[in-house]
């Protein structure tokens, strides 16, 4: 295929051939006991390499350095992005080194990790980056050998001309290639010719991870650096006064500084700060509404009944449909707030020097960190540098820059480089949670069991729009009313892996099961009937591709042997989010009357699978995450403070609680979409529907283990 080269300001081609060496990672690791051979050799390669564009440099030795601009938090982007570049370059993967690029808005667009959006955004750009460099290398070889470029072939970093028998590696043509003018358009490979994409390439950081190399923000150290931890105010409160005398008396504490309602203890290492923080005597007073979970339950009920609703979708005449209905089904579903709880707690290094700031750490949005720092200090954003470390998980928490700006505040106050570290207690009580939401669903069935009316009303605590009004079953029902109600809570919220849909999918897919039961239909047949209606007679705007959703539903029905084994009770769920489609079936066996969750089967359509290993990991990880939080995790509040403060009470799923997970991918022919999120939303619904099929108990709130309907079920998990 031919593709046009873009001409935007950040177009990577504009810098082609202009700078040697490319980026050097702005890290100053001095802390390592063992020599950093890998990093050193990459730096040595870079020192002699020439830059073809923002994504790649090639050295005369034929070594290829590929820069990965987006933060890596476990979604495997640092492996899959370079695979795409290397594919079009026809590089030898063994000769590829990958370097995490620092924030550079001049070179990269959308340098962030969120919304499962990196791959769909960058797919074409990465391919063009590789293809353009290959074009230049081939042109240089043609010029050197005095042969036609069309007669030259490239494979695994070797350029060949069959007619003359000439052969050479990339490095031999780098000097000439980088003097040539980049083409207006390049030819991209046919997908059937891919040799790297679609193969199971291992994590490029594996060895460093398994030998304990410093890679994460929390591992960063700088000579002269101070450490800090921060005491933050409860939600809805503000600081009145602080007695820091006991904290200051702890050996190793060098300072205590206050900004806003936060009190930072500063010292020469971490342990004294963990102790000193507990010795702070801080007085707070209400600064608005101080909320508890009992207030939220009351608010949900009040607002559901008479809150000011914003209409998100209205198709047909809902009032008439419900008036003439043969049967009406109504149910309410509710989820709690949740923390993100990445294994690496929030942390950031900041060094403010006059009107310049150096930032190093784990962030999903390096540019937001830069912008908020610049705004705080009143300096130009260009004066703020951001080096992106590997992230020990993110789940949306590190889309915010609050913990970065805090580090800047402390560095400014103490006039020294500082690393701010959050304890687990800080992380669980420090806010920016998945919002608590309650939904009410109403369905109208006619005498034939056809869904003729559908109403959804969501009430959220700082949730924004609690609905996804263009998602299924919208489009399949003639009369639809979808509304959302917002409550401005003092408890801060933020995107949490698969925002909104992480709970909406469970609620909706459980409710559709309730409706199918009322209609006397098999849950899968009922969904197929709806999807076929959306295909033949769509109502209003559809945000999803009906055929792709039908594809995963049918394949999941097939792969799970849906309904074929009477001793296996199954639950079905399907959801579209972040441009991908995932259907899941949970199997529960009733052996000796004890319900045992045996298996979850997942069918995914994420377009072309770039890395089958990575895709499989993302789907299985998403399912474990979806299951864990649906089953076990709760965050409740008392007077503006979470009651669950560490992993002893904030329960995360563990190894023994994970059943067998079987994954399948649909070969749909579409370009790749992201997989960091889409496998999570359907899981809770599949499990809840299987529990209903096995026990007749309908779970309408999370976490399941705290519901009275679940208390005597004794669900067992059978591992593979």
């Amino acid at each position: 295929m031919k593709t046009q080269i873009g001409t935007s300001r950040r177009d990577f081609l504009k810098i082609a051939g202009t700078t040697a060496g490319g980026l050097v990672i702005g890290f100053n690791w001095f802390s390592c006991d063992s020599p950093k051979m890998e990093v050193l050799s990459t730096e040595q390669i870079l020192a002699q390499a020439k830059s073809f564009n923002s994504f790649l440099s090639i050295s005369p030795t034929g070594d290829v350095v590929i820069f990965s601009p987006n933060p890596e938090l476990g979604q495997n982007i640092k492996t899959s992005f370079p695979m795409v570049v290397a594919e079009e370059l026809e590089a030898d993967w063994e000769k590829v080194r990958v370097v995490q690029a620092n924030l550079d808005p001049e070179k990269y667009e959308r340098q962030l990790t969120g919304g499962s959006g990196a791959m769909p955004h960058s797919w074409e750009r990465l391919r063009k980056a590789g293809a353009t460099a290959k074009y230049l290398l081939v042109a240089a070889a043609a010029q050197t050998w005095k042969v036609a470029a069309t007669e030259i072939t490239v494979s695994k970093g070797i350029i060949s001309h069959e007619g003359s028998g000439k052969k050479g590696h990339f490095g031999e043509f780098v000097a000439v290639a980088t003097t040539l003018t980049a083409p207006e358009e390049v030819t991209l490979k046919d997908k059937k010719d891919f040799t790297i994409i679609g193969t199971p390439v291992k994590n490029v950081d594996a060895k460093d991870l398994y030998t304990g190399k410093p890679m994460f923000g929390l591992d960063f150290q700088r000579e002269g650096m101070q450490y800090a931890m921060i005491q933050r105010a409860p939600f809805g409160m503000k600081l009145v006064s602080v007695d820091d005398s006991a904290a200051r008396a702890v050996a190793g504490v060098t300072n205590v500084v206050t900004f806003g309602s936060s009190v930072a203890v500063v010292g020469t290492s971490t342990w004294p700060l963990l102790k000193a923080k507990k010795l702070l005597k801080v007085n707070y007073e209400p600064d608005g509404v101080v909320e508890s979970s009992t207030d939220h339950d009351r608010l949900f009920t009040e607002l559901m009944a008479k809150g000011k609703a914003e209409v998100k979708r209205k198709d047909g005449d809902v009032a008439s449909a419900f008036k003439s209905a043969a049967k009406i089904v109504t149910a309410e579903y509710q989820c709690p707030f949740l923390a993100h709880s990445p294994m690496e707690p929030e942390n950031f290094f900041a060094h403010v020097q006059g009107d310049k700031v150096e930032l190093v750490g784990p962030t999903q949005t390096p540019d937001r960190a830069r912008q908020e720092t610049a705004a705080l200090l009143g300096i130009p954003p260009e004066n703020v540098s951001v080096a992106i470390t590997r992230l020990g998980g993110g789940f949306g928490r590190r889309l915010r820059a609050d913990y970065v700006v805090e580090a800047v505040e402390v560095s400014r106050a103490i006039n020294a480089p500082v690393k701010v570290t959050w304890s687990r207690e800080d992380e669980l009580t420090g806010g920016a949670y998945r919002p608590a939401v309650r939904y009410r669903f109403e369905a109208a069935l006619d005498a034939t069991g056809t869904l003729v009316g559908y109403k959804l009303r969501g009430v959220g605590m700082n949730a924004g729009n609690t609905t996804r009004e263009a998602n299924f079953p919208s489009g399949a029902v003639d009369n639809v009313l979808i509304e959302t109600i917002e409550h401005a809570s003092s408890i801060t919220t933020n995107a949490w892996r698969a925002p909104i849909t992480n709970f909406l999918a469970y609620a909706e897919q459980s409710f559709l099961d309730e409706v199918a039961l009322a209609a006397g239909k098999d849950p899968v047949d009922f969904r197929l009937e709806l999807l076929n209606r959306a295909k033949t007679k769509p109502v209003g705007e559809l945000g999803y591709d009906v055929d792709r959703m039908l594809g995963v539903v049918k394949m999941a029905k097939d792969k799970s042997n849906w309904g074929k084994n009477p001793s296996v009770k199954q639950g079905f769920s399907v959801y579209f989010s972040h441009k991908s489609y995932v259907a899941q079936v949970a199997d529960i066996e009733l052996a000796g009357g004890v319900p045992t969750l045996k298996k979850i089967t997942a069918v995914t359509d994420c377009g072309l699978v770039v890395n089958p290993t990575g895709a499989n990991h993302q789907v299985r990880g998403g399912i474990v995450d979806g299951m864990g939080h649906a089953m076990y995790t709760n965050l409740t509040f008392e007077a503006g403070v979470p009651k669950q403060r560490n992993f002893d009470s904030y329960r995360l799923i563990r190894l023994k609680e994970v059943p067998e997970i079987e994954t399948h991918f649909v070969d749909s022919g579409f370009d790749p979409t992201g997989l960091g999120e889409p496998a999570l939303p359907p899981t809770g619904g599949a499990i809840a529907n299987a529990i209903f099929a096995a026990t007749g108990r309908r779970l309408r709130s999370q976490p399941f283990i705290e519901q009275k309907e679940f208390s005597d079920i004794q669900l067992q998990i059978k591992r593979a």
């Binding site: 030998t211 304990g212 789940f395």
Partner: protein
Amino acid sequence: MANFSLKVNGTTHQVEVEDDTPLLWVLRDHLNLVGTKFSCGIAQCGACTVHVNGNATFSCVTPVSSIGNSEVTTIEGLSKDGNHPVQKAWDEVDVAQCGYCQAGQIMNAAAFLEQNPSPTLEEIDNAMNRNICRCGTYPKIREAVALAAKSNQL
């Protein structure tokens, strides 16, 4: 403040810290061995797992004063070149997602297999249940421990 002489990865180190300082923070902040991770601080997640005389130990709740002459091994000292059977199995299975918990997982698995070289799957599950992985790599952890056990016997 007191002076402690610690044997870590075969080398003796001198540190001057408070008695109650957890081994985790001595390793990370004083010996620059940051492969051992902080996550919960209360012996719930296992990210801080090291070996003390070969036993998997939560370094976040182990005061430095309790170490004495014991031999401490961290992920940095588990093998010379990342070639411990558990590390090799981790690479073979491609276990990590974010990777933050994996040093603790590997250290737990290595100590477990040292004590139980031919475990059943049930025993693997029981041993590895003490480490949390927020990315949900559990199926791969189970697979890698089983692979390490198998390859160790060849």
